[in-house]
Symmetry: C2
Subunit: 205 residues, 2 copies
DNA sequence: GACACGATGTCAGTGGCTGTCATCAGCATA
DNA sequence: TATGCTGATGACAGCCACTGACATCGTGTC
């Protein structure tokens, strides 16, 4: 077979996730990741554009799946529901255990959060494109996509923040329902006397 | 007064925006920015956390304004409308000319887009906090904030992409109206036969 | 056997960013 | 007036992310 151990990329991903988890993202050097994977720093950068990207290998695959699901949605579906269904399909391929580990690393570092956000923005943009191709007007397509991503984001964060694995599909549906309620103005008006608020050490500012 | 020229920070911001515009973000070194501002590289990093942050000095001020507006909203306002009004108030302090120049730089570079996204995410998070403090339930607060930011983002992008200055307030209101329509499923169902689509070289994939 | 190919290694260099110490005007205080 | 403190800046050394250029070496092909 090959002259080298196979699956260099996979080994780098594994080593990186481990090291980021063990000592933190900033405290890990690319050279260390490469060494644990039995490779050199230079090779790391041949597989990944930068030190962060090694955590986001699956995002292309996910985006593909979600976009395809929208494109193949049955005809008389409302755009927002097509987006919800597509994101549910995307969520279905995620593995709770792995997603939790990965997310635990990401939330500890601002640069990694930035990268996550731009991946979601890219997904929103691709979704909007798909909707436009289905004949949805430009502004509506953008807003449906962006609002859909917002709902997904909220659901996903609840999913990975919990040790016990709830059903992500269910969380996504709840999130979209709440989104609809909230934008309809159906949510109760705000009151000046918040219900559950004790004055134990008021937040500064 | 001081021993040095006053307003070092402002001079750095000005020099950076100019240079990023002239030769691009990546082609500009921090040393060059500092030199144009009559300072040293080390001083740049005392004023800004990194090379990107110099473009985002106003974001704290903006976030403050928006959050305060939500907190001070009159009692019987629906949360989504309070958020819309607050973002309109925030948008009102932006200067079209300057926002356009800044945005033109940001869209050319992925790292800068990442930074912009995390600032918006921070704003969403602060908005959600403000809503919770006003007694809005947790999930509703998150979704209202995130969806509101989505609407703002779309409106803002339209505003800065146009040479002629439309009214940002107006664009924001339109965006929120469209958001409400779209999440209500009021938008027309998707059709398999898109209205305006000529087959001139189908996009790959 | 010559040769192209593709994945990796080696090495030198750039630039973002940090820690540390020095410098120096203004200000307070003895 | 001398002394000392403070706060903004400069000077310098160093780490590490990332890149370009070239070398190496199995594998498959002609």
């Amino acid at each position: 077979m090959g002259r080298w151990e196979p699956n260099a990329r996979g080994r780098l991903e594994k080593a990186a996730l481990e090291l980021y988890g063990e000592r933190g993202f900033e405290q890990t050097t690319v050279a260390e990741i490469a060494k644990r994977a039995g490779l050199t720093e230079r090779t790391f950068f041949r597989h990944f554009a930068d030190k962060r990207e090694v955590l986001f290998g699956g995002s292309v695959h996910l985006e593909d799946l979600v976009v395809r699901t929208v494109i193949e949605a049955s005809d008389p579906t409302a755009p927002i529901d097509a987006v919800a269904a597509a994101l549910e399909a995307g969520g279905a391929v995620l593995i709770h255990e792995r997603a939790r580990k990965r997310h635990a690393v990401i939330v500890t570092n601002a640069e990694l959060r930035e990268r996550e956000l731009i991946k979601l923005a890219s997904l929103a943009s691709a979704l909007a494109d798909a909707l436009r191709r289905r004949g949805v007007a430009d502004l509506a397509a953008q807003l449906t996509a962006e609002a859909g991503i917002a709902a997904f984001k909220v659901a996903f964060e609840h999913w990975v923040s919990d040790t016990e694995e709830k059903d992500l599909s269910h969380l996504i549906r709840e999130s979209f329902d709440e989104l609809k309620a909230v934008t309809a103005g159906n949510s109760h008006s705000m009151s000046m006397t918040p219900p559950h608020r004790s004055p134990e050490g008021s937040p500064r500012r």
